[in-house]
Symmetry: C2
Subunit: 240 residues, 2 copies
DNA sequence: CCGCACTACGTACGGTGTACGTAACTACGA
DNA sequence: TCGTAGTTACGTACACCGTACGTAGTGCGG
């Protein structure tokens, strides 16, 4: 019997190497790195077991010795990417300014999500408790050490910052990511959708929306500015 | 030549019925309704062209006369579901209290997302400008009519409310949705993951996290309470 | 009334995740 | 020390996916 039974398990609790058989020719991190590379280059849908196996240079089914199911590979990918956080030790980089620390975390998260847009799709499907996620949480709690807030509220603050960053970046990259799976270019898509929207607005059925987009939509707003402002608002909402 | 060329187009601009040939046997809304039913019942991954065709009672490829690509079907599904908003006419239900109106919108959004959890996956991939989305935006702007805020800020407020609701509900249903694609039950999954987490916390590597979860995690917190509190914070962050 | 755009549908292609069987190899228990 | 159990690698096969393409029939616009 080759594969182990389909018992409930968590990938993090599964040892990478069992003591018995021949030495594995590859490693779990090789596989995850290849998957991340593929997703960065061609989107999450391009991550297939066959492609990764080809990249690594092994047979497709050999991967299942390292990763029991593709879902687990996703989970490993998300955690691998959250290793990119630079978590200054032992506390925040600002020497006690929790607000600056959380803004730094938000900016870092934004950078990570821009480098790996597929993370958004994966994270909305659930997993967020790998080793690196735990280190991240612990670090954030450390930054909030001096803050006079109950523990639950601190967790909510961290979750709000993360969630806000994710939705903002999701908006920022929506068009670009969507264009990846389309048979035409992103510019064409934007043009066609813009034309449709303008046509609808010209119809007069949405007067307020038309007014807002006519004035505010005249010059496109700076993404950095929106990001900083929104993040600031989130923090203010916890400690005004 | 049967299919039309792969030119950039938006599903909303494509007329459902062209004047020339025989009367279509089905309708776009039939197909979308079947897709929504399938997604509600078995998750978004269960929505396949073959299954919908079987539900409808037609050949698989006939669907492509109504929906050029599956992505467009997704877009139609999202908009179909946003028709479930009850948008009181002509303004908010509260006679000028924008705060109550936006809270109502948030609660309705939460209900919709709980009824159709797959919407979260689809919306993070982009499309949000179908007819019902436009009606929703226009309505929200109407609710904010009396509010002294620039148009851009109003749009940010609406986006923040929507984004917040989405991330909250994503967390609320993460486990349940994840369990759908697993070969074991959600309870087993939760048990195994909880055990792993407890083991990690017991290791002493995450003292602050362990402390927070030990006190705050003793009795599980009420989702309604978290939702209302978070939503309130978002509104406060715009107009304190 | 003719022609053509449109409908419906079957077949087929290239892709997916992964169950299962086989053969080689190694570390442990006796 | 040696047999054997468990692990590794990998090929084959299955069921499913989206959809390109071809064909036949239908009914409106010129």
């Amino acid at each position: 019997m080759a594969g182990r039974a389909a018992e409930p398990e968590v990938i993090w609790a599964r040892p990478e190497r069992a003591g018995r058989g021949p030495k594995p020719a590859y490693s779990r991190s090789d596989i995850v790195a290849a998957a991340v590379r593929a997703a960065d280059a061609d989107g999450i849908d391009a991550v297939s077991m066959r492609r990764i196996a080809a990249d690594i240079g092994c047979g497709t089914m050999s991967l299942y010795n390292y990763v029991p199911r593709k879902e687990d590979l996703y989970e490993l990918m998300v955690d691998a990417v959250s290793a990119e956080y630079e978590l200054s030790e032992p506390l925040g980089t600002s020497g006690g300014d929790w607000r600056a620390d959380m803004i730094d975390m938000g900016r870092q998260a934004r950078g990570i999500l821009h480098r790996h847009p597929w993370v958004i799709r994966l994270m909305t499907t659930g997993y967020a408790y790998g080793p690196n996620a735990l280190r991240f949480l612990e670090h954030c709690l450390g930054c909030l050490d001096g803050l006079d807030l109950p523990g639950g509220a601190k967790m909510e603050l961290i979750a709000s910052v993360n969630g806000t960053v994710m939705t903002i970046v999701a908006n920022e990259i929506a068009l670009a990511e969507r264009a990846r799976s389309l048979p035409w270019s992103g510019e064409q898509e934007q043009a066609v959708r813009g034309a449709y929207l303008m046509g609808q607005l010209a119809g007069g059925g949405y007067p307020r929306l038309a007014a807002v987009l006519a004035t505010a939509g005249a010059e496109p707003l700076d993404p950095e500015e929106v990001f900083e402002r929104t993040l600031g608002r989130v923090l203010d909402s916890f400690v005004p």
